[in-house]
């Protein structure tokens, strides 16, 4: 299908440079005029190469000096050498420098964006001898179980809603294929690389999305850069939502580029009415062409549904929001998307879907409850508190920047309104469900692509006008300072947001081995008790063992529990059940950092249970203890070291 648009609103090959423009943007030839007239810039690419090499050298020097095994109160923040931070500063400087010539050499800022992603997120992938985020090992366990069973069991009704992973199994089935095809023992061998792989795959999609609304490469790559810095939220790890989000964004991008209704662009077809940085509205497509596009999108839509339960809801909400515009009123596409979602929810996903529907009555309207982050506690300790503050400031900073663009770049906002709608659409989901304490992070993530675009628009000035245009010249001068300054502030916010709680996220292999041993030795049907599920291998053999994470509740209830832990747990264990308590170092750090237990609470719990005649110590180390519930035994504790 060739879609030709008679109006020259398409991207121009010539990019507005930050320096005084050669003339009004709309006076340029529409087909990339100026490309041949402009000499290939030598200095900026050289500078780009230099900064990349310098940053790489500093980063490689810093890498073996990252003291991740000796993390203290501030996680990885004070264990990263100065050279590491310096490499990030060099990358930022290189990015800003190469941005000046982004119009003719967009690959330099692109390379810097990829380098930033790698520099920020690769150290754990290269250094760690354990899966980052203890709860990520749950997904490793799901892959292992799938491979062991060779089939999907969506109706198995396993405890802790673990059957949900068989109801939306796409991510795990694909990983099962990768594990076998790679010849590795389990997905743990490559799980830590997920943020880098997903991030690298996300970058061209983001570029395409931003390119749909702006022809200014400076704005496009600044938005991608801001997205990387603001994506501290930790949803790109080895988990279904990371893959589903990539697919979701791809669908949205295709829709925004190929589902413009004929005759709907109106005044936006007039270049003079557009922001100088704005791209023209994509060419319109007829009903038949859009129907073909729906068929092409079908595998992506199906895969989103097969992968994750929440993302299709987000997708439907976003497409509904797009239907509010004349440009993207595609009821057919929305209908197909909703029908596919319902078809999956009512077949494969039926058990969790019906359960969620039954609880929606209670959660709808609980705005404050649904927007809480995590479970119930207050972040405690220097690192987690700093991370929590940085999280809030980062959200506010990105929102404030995007808000500034709504005021400063009203013409751009008008043409990019669909992107704004898509980003804002998931926010009302706060009113529906808390999604296990994670709705806040998910809504933030889904809003981030648009927020990053508008935040970049606030920082990268439009290039039209001449140097005699006083207001624009002033704005450019302000931007020359504000852009690097804001990028550095966001970088400073990213670090504590992403690495401030790292002590919770890195688990020593000894702890992993202890838990694996304990769960391997537990007979089928046993009950494993732990304060929280945030420890390595927590869900190992989850299809044969039951779990009770007894401290994942409100703090007052935990304080009551601590008055008589042995009695509290004994009362909750069904009679005749083989039960084991597994308490590990990571649980200690997590329950303290997330405020689930009061200071010293975990030590009290461990001491009380180890000293209780109801429990026999099976294994005890500095990094964890395994206790067996023995109601009949009295005083037969043994300790091994």
């Amino acid at each position: 299908m060739h879609h030709h648009v008679p109006v020259p609103t398409a991207e121009s090959g010539a990019l507005p440079a930050p320096a005084p423009a050669t003339g009004p943007q709309d006076a340029r030839p529409p087909d990339g005029g100026g490309r041949t007239a402009r000499p290939f810039p030598r200095r900026a690419p050289d500078a780009g190469l230099l900064t990349l090499l310098l940053a790489a050298a500093l980063w490689l020097y810093a890498l073996p000096r990252i003291g991740f095994r000796e993390m203290g109160d501030y996680g990885l923040l004070d264990r990263l050498p100065a050279a590491y931070y310096l490499s990030l500063l060099v990358l930022t400087a290189g990015f800003v420098l190469t941005l000046r010539r982004a119009g003719t050499a967009p690959w330099w800022p692109a390379l810097h964006c990829a380098a930033l992603l790698f520099a920020l997120k690769a150290p754990p992938a290269i250094l760690y001898d354990a899966v980052r985020y203890p709860w990520a090992s749950k997904h490793d366990a799901v892959v292992n179980t799938l491979l062991a069973n060779g089939e999907l069991r969506p109706n198995a009704a396993l405890s802790g809603n673990m059957s949900a992973y068989d109801q939306w199994p796409g991510f795990f089935t694909l990983d099962a294929g990768l594990v076998r095809a790679f010849g590795v023992e389990s997905a743990a061998a490559y799980a830590n690389w997920a943020p880098i792989v997903l991030g690298l795959l996300m970058m061209p999609v983001l570029m395409l999305l931003y390119r749909t609304f702006s022809q200014d490469w400076r704005l496009v790559w600044t938005a991608v850069w801001i997205f990387q810095l603001a994506n501290w939220v930790g949803q790109d790890y080895f988990a279904p939502q990371g893959l589903a989000f990539l697919l979701h964004l791809t669908v949205i991008t295709v829709v925004l580029r190929h589902f413009v209704r004929p005759g709907s662009a109106g005044r936006l077809r007039d270049r003079a009415r557009l922001d100088p940085a704005a791209a023209g509205v994509p060419p319109p497509t007829g009903t038949r062409q859009r129907a073909v596009c729906v068929a092409i999108l079908a595998p992506l839509l199906l895969a989103v549904n097969a992968t994750h339960q929440l993302t299709p809801v987000m997708l439907c909400v976003c497409l509904s929001a797009l239907c509010l515009t004349r440009r993207y009123r595609n009821v057919g596409l929305l209908t197909v998307t909703v029908l596919l979602m319902l078809a999956w929810d009512l077949t494969m996903g039926r058990p969790l879907f019906t359960e969620t529907l039954s609880t929606l009555k209670e959660s709808i309207g609980e705005l404050t409850q649904n927007s809480r982050a995590g479970y119930a506690g207050e972040l405690t300790g220097p690192g987690p508190e700093l991370a929590g503050t940085a999280n809030v400031l980062m959200v506010l900073a990105v929102a404030a920047l995007a808000g500034a663009a709504l005021v400063l770049r009203r013409r751009l906002v008008r043409s990019a309104l669909p992107l704004l709608l898509v980003s804002a659409a998931p926010v009302p989901l706060f009113a529906v469900n808390d999604y296990g304490g994670e709705m806040l992070f998910r809504v933030y993530l889904f809003g981030l692509p648009g927020a990053a675009f508008f935040a970049a628009a606030a920082l990268v000035p439009g290039a039209a006008g001449t140097s005699r245009d006083g207001a624009r010249a002033l704005r450019r001068r302000v931007s020359a300072v504000a852009l690097p300054a804001v990028l550095l502030v966001l970088l400073a916010g990213f670090m504590p947001s992403y690495y401030g709680k790292e002590t919770m996220y890195y688990t020593p292999p000894e702890e992993t081995a202890l838990v694996t041993r304990a769960l391997d030795n537990a007979p089928d049907g046993s009950l494993i008790l732990a304060t929280t599920g945030s420890f390595p291998q927590a869900l190992h053999r989850y299809d044969r063992i039951e779990h009770w994470f007894f401290a994942e509740q409100e703090l007052p209830e935990n304080e009551r529990m601590l008055q008589d832990p042995a009695g509290y747990l004994a009362a909750g264990i069904p009679p005749g059940t083989r039960a084991y308590v597994v308490l590990t170092r990571t649980q200690d750090i997590y329950t303290a950092g997330e405020g689930l237990l009061p200071p010293g609470g975990f030590a009290t719990l461990r001491a009380e249970l180890a000293g209780s005649p109801l429990f026999r110590t099976v294994e005890s180390h500095d990094y964890g203890v395994v206790l067996e519930y023995r109601p009949a035994d009295r005083g037969t504790t043994t300790t091994t070291r």
Binding site: T9, P169, L174, L201, R211, T250, P299
Partner: protein, 127 residues
């Protein structure tokens, strides 16, 4: 195939006809990438010679085949789009193939790679 002529690519200057010989070789390699990945799984252990072709194929093979079927290559405008969408489309097809194989209890790495390789080859040779 979706093609947007207005979204001109800045990555490549306007060129005359693509070098058909090189293009043909590239297409041949892409069409055979699934079978190369399958052959690589015969190597013992998780060696880079094994996982790199498999990863590249799973990430890009089927998507490239779906988005890049024209014998003369894509128009300039659609190239940027094909680059961005190849991986998501590949992963989607991988997800659907792997899930379907589990549902019919016929899953193995070989069956998954064969399904995707057939899809890739057919796309290159028939579309």
């Amino acid at each position: 195939m979706i093609e947007v002529t207005s979204q001109a690519s800045q990555f490549r200057p306007p060129t005359t006809d693509a070098p058909h010989g090189a293009e043909r070789h590239l297409r041949l390699l892409a069409g055979a990438s699934g079978w190369i990945a399958l052959a690589a799984t015969a190597l013992p252990g998780p060696s880079p010679l094994r996982w790199i072709p498999v990863l590249l194929f799973i990430l890009f093979g089927p998507g490239c085949a779906a988005l890049y079927p024209q014998p003369d290559g894509l128009a300039r405008g659609a190239r940027l789009e094909a680059v961005a969408l190849a991986a998501p489309v590949s992963l989607s097809l991988g997800v659907l193939a792997a899930t379907s194989l589990f549902l019919v209890e016929a899953f193995s790495a070989t069956s998954l790679l064969v399904v995707l390789a057939v899809l890739t080859t057919v796309s290159y040779t028939h579309l």
